[in-house]
């Protein structure tokens, strides 16, 4: 008599490789794809140069020729919004990816190994944490002088701590889980345990946060540019366009309104994406 009795799996045998897209994820992805397509392809199809000054065409309201109108230098606002999108997305990506990589590594190492490593790293994190984000970024960029490279530097220096904290917290709890104990008992190396067992189960909140961070970064980059500390004209950038356009708000509302909408659109896209990823990546069962 055999004592082993088989059960049928309780879940339906749906293929696990194809994750079901949830509504926020679908909407976020769609918005992002549209944005990327517009930003990457738009300039190719636009008959206008985002930098070309033409006083004769200045301050045209939105219409058939200039869909979003022109600014006081006669530059096509739509073309500039799209060109600015590329700049902003590029900055946001770098300013999120670098801190994500650095922070996650530090957080994973600190959380997994604990002890003195953890205490030293977390002390550094605590100290940097005490500086308000904007204060530090403004101080760094302000002193170094405004430039894209300096923004990368400032954001990376400031933002990695958020990822380090998030990942460390998750790693601390994942480290306690029985499958990680099992992995240690199975004689796996620390690197293998971190990369294959700990990080995949600890990184989700960091990824979700990264999406929110994209929004925060774009807002911060545009705010810096607005203050004159960020991207410098004539490079088109949403914050700069809003800053430039605000004096024209009464006679040419379109100059600052469209870049404002672009920021909100991007923000919504990444917020939805973050929500969707949160749902999708949270481990089941």
């Amino acid at each position: 008599m055999t004592t082993t009795i088989t059960e049928t799996p309780t879940a339906s045998p749906r293929q696990r490789r194809l994750p079901r897209l949830n509504p926020p994820l679908t909407a976020g992805l769609a918005m992002l794809v549209i944005l990327l397509a517009a930003v990457l392809l738009g300039p190719l199809f636009s008959p206008y140069d985002p930098l070309k000054v033409d006083f004769a065409e200045a301050l045209r309201p939105p219409g058939a020729v200039h869909w979003f109108g022109t600014d006081n230098l006669g530059r096509d606002v739509l073309t500039r919004v799209l060109a600015a999108g590329l700049v902003d997305l590029q900055i946001a990506t770098v300013c999120v990816v670098l801190p994500f990589l650095i922070g996650s590594t530090v957080g994973a190492v600190a959380g997994y190994f604990g002890g003195l490593t953890d205490r030293i790293l977390m002390r550094i994190v605590d100290i940097l944490w005490a500086f308000p984000f904007y204060v530090l970024v403004i101080a760094i960029v302000g002193t170094l002088g405004p430039s894209t490279g300096n923004m990368y530097l400032a954001f990376t220096l400031v933002v990695w701590i958020s990822f380090a904290r998030i990942v460390r917290g998750e790693v601390l709890s994942v480290r306690q889980s029985e499958y990680v104990m099992a992995a240690r008992l199975l004689g796996y190396s620390h690197l293998r345990i971190i990369l294959r067992h700990v990080l995949p189960n600890a990184i989700t909140p960091a990824i979700v946060y990264a999406m929110a961070d994209v929004v925060l970064t774009i807002l911060a980059v545009t705010a810096l540019s607005f203050l004159g500390l960020g991207v410098q004209p004539p490079t088109p950038e949403w914050g700069v366009m809003i800053a430039d356009g605000r004096n024209f708000i009464f006679d040419a509302w379109w100059i600052s309104t469209f870049p404002g909408f672009a920021i909100i659109y991007t923000g919504i896209a990444f917020t939805l994406l973050g929500d969707g990823l949160d749902d999708l990546l949270r481990p089941k069962g």
Partner: protein, 332 residues
């Protein structure tokens, strides 16, 4: 020293584990020194090859900590763990080697499997890491074999853990532990999260594997009925100490420690004709960071007298039956 038949497969000698409490802010505020938590106190155990030793006790008694000290997750504060007479606790023992000799099964079937790995991936990994099989085909064959061993259809191996029920997951965990062909398995409450009907399946699987593969178990559980069913010998823990250890049937039929007796009488028997009316044991276990002086059980013991409060008790033995009570074996 070569392993001989006299050498127990696993020996725990005088093992204690004290967790230093971190000095928290409240300690500083209250000007108190933190009490160290004495989770395990001076435990000595042996496991003969092929035997199952049940370790039972209520929550917080230190049975899990003991299991984890043996598995090497905690460094024992005192004492040593020997495997085939070789010291495995502390430095100087190859963890890789230990993992091929000793494995552990955990309580929670839902957190003991990495949710991101399929069954096949979870089972292949130890085989690859330890190089037990080479080549895609051989490894796949071994995975199928392992799944059959624990009674899972190999066809399910590309599923993620969340597709399985609790009982099935526990089978996967067992298969993963078996992948390295260990001799000793420490099972830490492996069935307590399962329904009775499933629990019986897993218990039968344990028994089946023991007889087929000659495994040796340290079986940790709080359910006396489960422990009695699976074990040859049973050790009862209370407040970090082993208070009684004996052959399973003997322990049930002739318990010597009042705590063991209390546990047995508190066990609800599925038989309405044998109702016990009086409350079997008053009070609750003391805080392990400040155990009572004398016999650890004296504050709750119906038999306690001054001697029990004055002095800690050693295990008293009659044959293989040991009990940490001044009154043990007095009746005969």
């Amino acid at each position: 020293m070569p392993a001989s038949t006299d050498t127990p497969l696993l020996e725990v000698r005088g093992l204690s584990k004290t967790f230093a409490q971190r000095r928290s802010l409240s300690h500083i505020v209250m000007s108190q020194a933190p009490h160290p938590l004495q989770a395990v106190r001076n435990v000595t155990l042996t496991l003969a090859p092929g035997e199952t030793l049940g370790l039972v006790g209520e929550s917080g008694c230190g049975k899990s900590t003991l299991g984890r000290c043996i598995a090497g997750f905690h460094e024992p504060t005192e004492g040593t763990v020997f495997l085939r007479g070789e010291k495995v606790s502390g430095d100087g023992y190859d963890r890789q080697r230990l993992s091929r000799e000793l494995q552990m099964i955990f309580q929670d079937p839902y957190s003991s499997l990495n949710p991101r790995l399929t069954v096949a991936q979870a089972l292949e990994e130890p085989i690859r890491v330890h190089g037990l099989r080479r080549g895609r085909g051989e490894i796949a064959d071994r995975v199928d074999e392992l799944m059959s061993t624990v009674g899972l259809p190999p066809g399910l191996k590309s599923q993620l853990p969340h597709a399985f029920s609790g009982g099935q997951r526990q089978r996967i965990s067992i298969a993963r532990a078996l992948a390295l062909e260990p001799d000793v398995i420490i099972a830490d409450e492996p069935v307590s999260a399962l329904d009775v009907s499933i629990q019986a399946q897993i218990l039968n699987l344990f028994e089946d594997l023991r007889s087929r593969l000659g495994l040796t178990y340290l079986f940790i559980a709080h359910d006396l009925n489960v422990v009695r069913h699976i074990s040859q010998r049973i050790a009862v823990m209370y407040l970090g100490e082993i208070v009684e250890i004996a052959d399973a049937d003997q322990l049930f039929e002739d318990p010597q420690h009042p705590y063991t007796r209390a546990l047995l009488s508190a066990l609800p028997q599925p038989d309405p004709t044998r109702r016990t009316e009086a409350v079997s044991l008053e009070g609750e276990p003391p805080d392990p960071s400040s155990p009572p002086s004398g016999c650890a059980f004296n504050v709750r013991c119906p038999l306690a007298h001054d001697a029990c409060r004055a002095q800690a008790q050693e295990l008293r033995w009659r044959g293989d039956h040991g009990a940490r009570c001044i009154e043990a074996f007095k009746r005969d």
